[in-house]
C-alpha cells in the first residue's frame, strides 16, 4: 500500500478468460497504487485497446485463440516501446520464457502465482526491471542458454514472409499498420540474424525453408 506514489500504475489485462480477469481484478483492487485501466480478449485486439487506455504495464496471457501473447507483445513493443509487458501464463517451460524475452517482455509469471507476487511483479517491471517468478528464475538458471539469437521472432518471420511474396516496406507497413521505419528495423534485424544481405537471397531463403510456397 504505497500511498506515496503520486499516480497509480496503469494496468491492462489481456486474457481470453473473463473469469480469470475478474478474479485477478478482484485481488488487485486491494492495492491502491495500481489501477486496471483496460482489458481485452485476444492478441488481435491488444494494440487497439492499448491505444485507448495507454497502460504502463500489460499483463499478457500467451494462449489465446487468434494471435498469441508473444506475437501481441512484439506488436505492442513496436508502437509502445516503453510499455512493459508482464507475461501471465499457464505455460511453465523455459522455451516460453525465452520466447517471451525475445519478444520484448519484461517479466514472466505463472497464472497460479499468488496475487501478492503478481503485485510485486507489476511493481518491478513498472520500474524498468525484469521480473521472473521464483520457479521460472530457477528454470532459466538450470537450462543452458542455447544461443538462440539467430532465430527470428514471430513478427520478424511474418515480415519475412511478406518480403518474400514481393511486398515493399511501404506496403508491409500499410498492411501491418506500423511505420515504415519499424518495418525497416525488422528488415535489418532479419538480415543480420540470417546473415543475408540482399533481397534475392532473402526471398530464396524463405522459399527454401518452406515459409512461402514457391508456386
Amino acid at each position: 500500500m504505497n500511498t506515496l506514489s503520486p499516480s497509480p500504475i496503469k494496468i491492462m489485462l489481456v486474457d481470453d478468460h473473463p473469469m480469470v480477469r475478474d478474479g485477478l481484478s478482484a485481488c488487485l483492487s486491494f492495492y491502491d497504487d495500481i489501477a486496471i485501466v483496460g482489458a481485452c480478449n485476444d492478441g488481435t485486439e491488444v494494440l487497439q485497446t492499448a491505444k485507448q487506455c495507454l497502460p504502463d504495464v500489460i499483463l499478457m496471457d500467451i494462449s489465446m485463440p487468434n494471435q498469441n501473447g508473444l506475437e501481441a507483445t512484439e506488436i505492442i513493443k513496436e508502437t509502445f516501446p516503453d510499455t512493459k509487458i508482464l507475461i501471465f501464463s499457464m505455460h511453465e517451460s523455459s522455451e516460453f520464457v525465452k520466447n517471451a524475452v525475445q519478444a520484448g517482455a519484461s517479466g514472466y509469471i505463472l497464472k497460479d502465482t499468488d496475487s501478492e507476487e503478481v503485485y510485486q511483479a507489476i511493481k518491478t517491471v513498472a520500474q524498468g526491471k525484469s521480473y521472473f517468478g521464483s520457479n521460472i528464475a530457477q528454470m532459466l538458471l538450470a537450462s543452458p542458454t542455447n544461443p538462440s539469437n539467430e532465430r527470428l521472432t514471430a513478427r520478424e518471420q511474418m515480415i519475412l514472409s511478406h518480403i518474400a511474396t514481393g511486398q515493399s516496406s511501404k506496403a508491409i507497413a500499410h498492411t501491418l499498420d506500423i511505420s515504415v521505419r519499424t518495418v525497416e528495423a525488422h528488415r535489418r534485424n532479419i538480415k543480420s540474424k540470417l546473415n543475408i544481405d540482399n533481397l534475392a537471397e532473402l526471398v530464396r531463403y524463405a522459399i527454401e525453408q518452406g515459409l512461402v510456397n514457391s508456386a
Binding site: G23, S63, S115, A154, S161, K193, G210, N213
Partner: protein, 469 residues
C-alpha cells in the same frame, strides 16, 4: 481361405471336369467312329477283291473255253493244254495265280510250287484248323464261292490271310480257283486306323492343352488379382490406421485444450476469487478460516494435476511455439531425467508445419528418446532439425551400443510396434523414415518433403492479418 481363392478353386474344378468329360466323350466317339469306318472300309475292300477274283476267274474260263468246250470227259491232251494255260495266268506280281485240284484233292496246277503237282492235299489243314482243299472243292461244286483262310504268300514267304474263289469244271471234276492275299487290305485298314488314332490323339492333346492353359490362366489371373487386392487392402488398412492415429491425436489435442484453456482457467479464476475473499476478510480484520486455506491448497493441487494430464495428452508448446521449441523442451526434460547430454540444432524459422506433421515428428523424437533411455546406454544424443534441398530432415543420433546389442537381449522392443508405427506415420505425410544402427550408436532419420508444408505458414497468417487490418 480367402474368397478369391475359393472362386479360383471352383473355376479350376469346373475346367477339369469339363475337360475330363470332353476327353472321355471324344475318345468314345472316335473309337466308335473308327470301328465303324474300318468295318465299312473292310467290307468295301473285300467286296472289291471278290469282284476282282470273279473277273479273273471269268477271264481264265474264257481263255480255256475253246479247248474245254470241245474236249472229251477223259481227254489228257486237252487237260494238259488247259493246265498249261492256267499255270501261265499270273497277275498281281507273283501272288496272283490259278490253282487246280481234282475233286479228290490231288494237285493239277500250282505255278508257284510246280513240284507239288500230282500230290494229294485232301487232308491238308490250314492254320485255322480247316481242311482248305476240301472247302475249296466244296465251294466249287456248289457253283462257286469265296473262302478266307491263312495261306503262305509266295512273295513274302509268310502266312497271310487269303481270299480265294473256286469254280468247278464239271466235265473233268476239276476245281479251279484263284485267290488274293489280303495283306494290302490289312495295311490299308491299319493306315486308316492309324490316321484316325493320330487324329484322336491330336484332339486329346488339344483338349488337354486347352484345359491346362485354362487352369494356368485362371491361376495366374487369380494370383495376380489376389495380390493386387491384398496390396490394395493393405494400403487401405494402413490408411485407416493412420486415420485412426490422426483422429486420436486430434481428440487428445482437443481434450488437452479443453482442460488447459477451459477447466484450468476456471480453476485459476476460482483461485483468485478465494484469494480476494481472503484479502477481503483481512481487510475486515477477520482471520483467514482454515477451510479457505485448505480449499486454496487443494485447488492448487488440482490445477497442477490437470495441467500435467493436459500436457501428457498433447504438448501445448507444439501449438504455441512450434516443433523446434517443443523438441528442445523434450530434450531438456530428457537430459535432466537421464543425465544423457542432448544437443539440439534447429532452423531459424518456426511454426512452419501443419499440426499433423508437427505431432508426428514430435512423436518420433519422443519415441526415439524413450528407446535411447531404455536400451541404448548412450551418454550423448543429438537432435537436428534442418530444412534443405526440398526436405525437412529430423535426425536423432546417439552414441549408444546400437540396435544389434539391444536385439540380443530384447529383440521385440526395438524393431517392434513403436518404430514401425513411426515409420508408417512419417510415410503417411509422404515422408521417409530410416533407422540405422551400428555398435557406435543408432540414427533415426525422418524426412518430410517441403511440398507437404510450404503452403502452411502463409495460409495460417491470412485470417490473423484479415482481422488485424
Amino acid at each position: 481361405m480367402p474368397f478369391s481363392f475359393r472362386i479360383q478353386l471352383f473355376a479350376v474344378i469346373q475346367v477339369i471336369l469339363t475337360a475330363l468329360f470332353t476327353y472321355i466323350f471324344v475318345t468314345n466317339e472316335y473309337r466308335d467312329l473308327s470301328e465303324q469306318n474300318v468295318a465299312t472300309l473292310e467290307a468295301f475292300l473285300i467286296e472289291q477283291k471278290q469282284q476282282e477274283l470273279k473277273n479273273y476267274t471269268e477271264i481264265a474260263k474264257a481263255s480255256i473255253q475253246h479247248i474245254y468246250a470241245g474236249a472229251a470227259k477223259d481227254d489228257p491232251v486237252a487237260q494238259e493244254l488247259v493246265a498249261n494255260i492256267l499255270s501261265t495266268l499270273i497277275y498281281d506280281g507273283h501272288d496272283g495265280y490259278f490253282f487246280v485240284y481234282d475233286e479228290y484233292g490231288t494237285n493239277i496246277v500250282l505255278p508257284t510250287e510246280p513240284y507239288r503237282v500230282g500230290q494229294n492235299y485232301w487232308d491238308l489243314l490250314n492254320d485255322k484248323g480247316e481242311p482248305t482243299i476240301q472247302i475249296l472243292i466244296e465251294n466249287a461244286k456248289n457253283g462257286g464261292d469265296f473262302y478266307r483262310y491263312p495261306w503262305n504268300q509266295p512273295s513274302t514267304e509268310t502266312i497271310t490271310e487269303k481270299l480265294s474263289y473256286s469254280d468247278f469244271l464239271p466235265k473233268w471234276g476239276w476245281m479251279m480257283g484263284t485267290g488274293v492275299y489280303l495283306d494290302n487290305v490289312q495295311q490299308q485298314l491299319i493306315s486308316v486306323q492309324t490316321a484316325i488314332d493320330e487324329h484322336t490323339d491330336n484332339t486329346r492333346f488339344i483338349i488337354l492343352f486347352v484345359a491346362m492353359s485354362s487352369i494356368f490362366v485362371i491361376f495366374t489371373i487369380g494370383t495376380i488379382l489376389h495380390f493386387t487386392q491384398k496390396k490394395e487392402s493393405d494400403k487401405q488398412i494402413d490408411q485407416l490406421g493412420q486415420k485412426i492415429i490422426t483422429l486420436q491425436e486430434d481428440e487428445q489435442r482437443h481434450i488437452s485444450r479443453e482442460l488447459h484453456d477451459g477447466i484450468v482457467q476456471i480453476l485459476v479464476s476460482i483461485k483468485y476469487s478465494l484469494e480476494a475473499t481472503g484479502k477481503f476478510l483481512a481487510h475486515q480484520n477477520v482471520e483467514k478460516p482454515v477451510p479457505l486455506i485448505q480449499a486454496q491448497t487443494n485447488l492448487s493441487n488440482a490445477i497442477t494435476d490437470i495441467r500435467r494430464i493436459s500436457h501428457h495428452l498433447h504438448p501445448r508448446i507444439l501449438d504455441e511455439l512450434g516443433l523446434s521449441d517443443a523438441m528442445e523442451a523434450l530434450g531438456k526434460e530428457f537430459s535432466e531425467r537421464t543425465n544423457i547430454a542432448v544437443t539440439i540444432t534447429k532452423p531459424a524459422l518456426s511454426k512452419l508445419l501443419p499440426d499433423h506433421i508437427n505431432i508426428t515428428l514430435y512423436r518420433v523424437v519422443q519415441e526415439s528418446l524413450m528407446n535411447i533411455e531404455k536400451h541404448a546406454q548412450a551418454t550423448k544424443t543429438s537432435i537436428d532439425l534442418a530444412i534443405m534441398d526440398n526436405w525437412l530432415t529430423l535426425t536423432i543420433r546417439d552414441n549408444g551400443i546400437g540396435m544389434y546389442e539391444m536385439n540380443e537381449n530384447e529383440p521385440s522392443l526395438h524393431s517392434g510396434i513403436g518404430t514401425r508405427n513411426l515409420a508408417e506415420r512419417v510415410k503417411y505425410h509422404r515422408g521417409q523414415f530410416k533407422l540405422s544402427s551400428s555398435r557406435k550408436g543408432t540414427t533415426v532419420v525422418a524426412k518430410i518433403p517441403r511440398s507437404a508444408f510450404a503452403h502452411h505458414y502463409t495460409q495460417k497468417q491470412e485470417p490473423i492479418l484479415a482481422e488485424s487490418i
